[in-house]
Symmetry: C3
Subunit: 426 residues, 3 copies
């Protein structure tokens, strides 16, 4: 049983190396021409490389640390996040390339790298819904399936519906959230319906999570603009996202204080709902919607996200039997749907003529639909009793999968001034 | 009373959206021409976007984490920092735009975004002086007033005095510090004259603060060069700042060890005085002063900053009745003044012919003067007993404004090896 | 005795300022022409500035936090890292400039800044081998000597052997590792042969270390490409490194689980071996080796690195009497040698015609040889009993060199919910 995870990981890496040998090559002057409307200028490469690095920080530091809020699950949050993303970016490169180049050789440019990072984002969002309740092997399997489904839906949305979704409110955020919720629903644990003693934060774990929040917040304009057309559209994607995020911070703080006892702020809201503006403005980000409209979208998303955490997540757990550990429905699901709806409205009002409102609606429906079915299918596979899923009492606990630091079995009482400590063996 | 903060935040956001609808629009080829000596090249946009993102990290991660050194005030430090900055960048965009475009429509380009971030920096500096002693509502009010005064002084310095201050030693750092000190002076708490048991760091809070220090240190060359003229000047702003910062690290370590008992290093000095070189070289950063002169400025600032922490801050608290929580006088005040004086000297010696030494001196005087009067005025408003200012015994304590993590009332004794814990209800 | 460190630091800074006055100047249109095959375009400057900043984050945040894994040595890890790097970048600028410009005036451009940061990397790697066992004065001396030797070897490798080593697998990673191991060997402490109670991590110190790991991982493509030729080569250095790193994550996780009891993951492996792919692909990074070959190099390095931590480091400590605190041999030494060997093979197979395989082999031999001899020489100097080396029982303990936070001598028992605490004076 202890060999399953390493052997699957090794087999996958070996397979990946073979597939890369067969299908992947460097971008060269020849094969660059196959790619749509891009000139291969070094300048363009490095403008995009800079945006890629911003996205890269979001994926590995942003998502990774955002999930460290659980007091005993920080190693898994940041560690499995790294594993998933490193696996996912290789698989995403391949599967996306094979689909887009119809089985011909896939040239790897900076756009492929950005898209590879994007494809991992969906899995990392879904990871948030099942955080603490599934094993590394289950995450590995989910990564492979989810990225495959994601690439299919994204192709449908972009190539068939020709829909606008530049910041991927629908294809990444809503998709990732509903996929994760579907998996969490299938893997529902009745034993945890009254919660779990490890499913809470502590003072410093909440501060670690803020590292994630802040890097996500800061670089979100790069996320929403990285694959936008150079010029006006990329510029608008940046400024719309900048102001939408700022607006969602104000409403997230305001409503967090309004819904909590005695007007206090709740760290969960601050860590998550402040980012809802980045998600929700995604679909329209490169459109000429007006800066104040971005701010309306952002404020709405910040507010809705807080309400989601306060009222929907408990309801999901009790009534719908979906345990959403990080509340991804409130950060990615609802704001993603808001983004999709805003996109439909914007196209209907003629702000963009790239697609029709019906096509936008089809894209939203397709993203949610494939996510739910893909997630249920994945959940059923993960439910097979061979994937080392942790029992209820070991949930949200790193020590199941990680060597504990230290190694001695003792109580430590720390003296701050001398930085020495009392140690009581137990 | 619990509704004041959320309702003020919401009203401000609604007002901001209306004002953006009225006054703000995207930068287009037409309105770009109204802006001074800039061509709208995409390349230039993305060179500046990259510098903007560096500054953005400084504002949200740098300032935010730098203030997490207090053992029980990390949520507020990093959380209120985010709130202030998100509010301030919207207000700064508006108020600066209205002043610079004389009430006409304000085009938002990358330079506006950098300046919006800059305007929040002043408030975040002042926040350091009053950290732990004022409420979120008070910070909200201070943000609105301080940015307004800042924009006025900056306009005076740049447009009337035509003074050089590319890295804003005077207009941001000295201004922010003396504004904050003036507020702290008005809000003096006699009850805390012997300190407060929460006003200290602990081991991990000091490490969190180093995240802030390092990102500030790393990206300071971008801060000082972001709005410099392209070419030689921007290049010089980068390299002067790089070497000034390096020099201030050496003197900060040396003098920290010299002034402390038994030659030990003090974390407060390392977290702050190592940055003094970035502040002090600001005014001259783009001038042809010679790299060794940058290093002299940096070394001096590192030394002066340590002396300030060791001797001035305690004196301020006891004699001047100004309680400066983070010691912003030592990181931003004194080094800002050194920067202003270096600027006067440099201009007097003919290194720059952009302004005269008298105009530089006027800029320094104006920055300190408006800061002190603006800060006193703000302090008087904040002193009104309606803003939920925390009582002395609740200072430096997150639990006044934040839901505590966990929620159960118990002593937790942690066993490291098993990562389980003893819990004693109390 | 308490004056040695500050006086040496101050004297060095004063000397540095004088030497900068004598030898260093801004890059101008005139002196730029002296530099090899570069045009002074602002665009090129800012492409490189962006890569420089990525490297800068790696040096100060990456290396600094990676070493905070020790439970009581975080201040020194991140603090002495900052000190060394700030000193080293000034000294590296000078010594490298003097050698390359043959004593003429040294122009400072972005390439010099990148190389200055690179030269500090060698010392930071060696720091990892002796972490916790030497004093700040010893580190200061080591910095000055090691950078001097590094610059000499690098000159030999690049100018005499004309060898390819774009990502510096040999000249930085292998060199830094073997230099540090040689110092650690000379400074062997028999008293610590059974370990030390402080030489272990705790839960949160391991999370702090992951901040370092992730920023190193994210920006490694920039490290390997920063001084590559613009165009194809820089592009390839980026994509080869991206995929090599991803592959090494998979094998690091797989073999960590394989070699540990009950298939658990070990944080030390995850923090370090996931980066081995970046080190090992360094020498070949800009060559046309094929993406799958990068992945083979990365997978191999990830595997070898885990084996090194599991089997070699204990062996080194017991048999070779070399105590390698951070296991730099496994992260930088072995993967650096793999990189050198891959370079020899690639050149032998005609992938690059920049040098011959014999010259590549000479470069690898020279890097390891000068490192070992330089390290032994440095170790002998550091062994002089005048440098305040800490006694065995004070190793891995910040409180020897840092003021303890707090200052009161008491046991603190923390109540999470109220965030108040019981304090028992002792």
């Amino acid at each position: 049983m202890r060999f399953k995870f390493p052997l699957m990981a090794l087999s996958l890496e070996v397979a990946m190396i073979f597939l890369f040998k067969l299908f992947v090559q460097y971008e060269t002057d020849d094969n660059i021409l196959q790619q749509t409307n891009r000139t291969k200028s070094t300048d363009e490469f490095f403008v995009l490389y800079s945006l890629f690095q911003d996205v890269h920080v979001m994926i590995f530091v942003g998502f990774g640390f955002l999930m460290t809020f659980l007091k005993k699950y920080g190693f898994s949050s940041v560690g499995i996040n790294l594993f998933i993303a490193a696996l996912g970016l290789q698989w995403g490169t391949l599967i996306r390339g094979i689909l887009h180049y119809h089985g011909q050789t896939i040239p790897i440019g900076i756009i492929s790298m950005i898209n590879a990072d994007f494809s991992t984002a969906t899995v990392l969002i879904s990871f948030g819904a099942v955080l603490g309740k599934i094993s590394p092997i289950q995450m590995l399997i989910m990564t492979i399936i989810e990225i495959t489904v994601f690439v299919g839906n994204e192709y449908l949305v972009a190539e068939n519906f020709m829909a606008s979704d530049i910041g991927a409110s629908m294809t990444i955020h809503a998709f990732g959230a509903y996929f994760g919720l579907a998996v969490a629903g299938i893997l529902y644990r009745p034993g945890l319906r009254r919660g779990h003693k490890n499913e809470e934060s502590e003072y410093h774990s909440d501060l670690f999570a803020m590292i994630g929040t802040l890097f996500l917040w800061i670089f979100w304009p790069s996320f929403n603009s990285a694959i936008a057309d150079a010029g006006e559209k990329r510029y608008r994607a940046i400024v719309n996202t900048y102001f939408s995020l700022a607006a969602s911070v104000l409403t997230a703080y305001a409503f967090s204080s309004l819904v909590e006892d005695r007007g206090k702020l709740n760290m969960v809201h601050i860590q998550n709902a402040t980012l809802a503006g980045g998600v929700a403005v995604g679909t329209c980000a490169d459109m000429n919607i007006g800066l104040y409209v971005s701010m309306i979208i952002g404020s709405t998303a910040g507010m809705v996200s807080v309400f989601g955490f306060k009222f929907l997540t408990p309801l999901f757990a009790t009534k719908l039997m979906i345990q959403d550990t990080c509340g991804v429905h409130n950060l990615h699901g609802l704001p993603g749907v808001i983004g999709g709806l805003a996109g439909i409205a914007a196209v209907a009002m003629g702000v963009s003529d790239k697609s029709t409102w019906a096509m936008q609606a089809a894209a939203l429906g397709s993203s949610i639909g494939t996510a739910v079915f893909g997630g249920m299918f994945t959940g059923l596979i993960l439910k097979l009793p061979i994937w080392e899923q942790p029992p209820d009492h070991n949930c949200y606990d790193d020590s199941v999968y990680w060597e504990a630091p230290g190694g001695k079995n003792m109580i430590i009482i720390y003296e701050y001034s001398s930085q020495s400590q009392l140690e009581l063996e137990v």
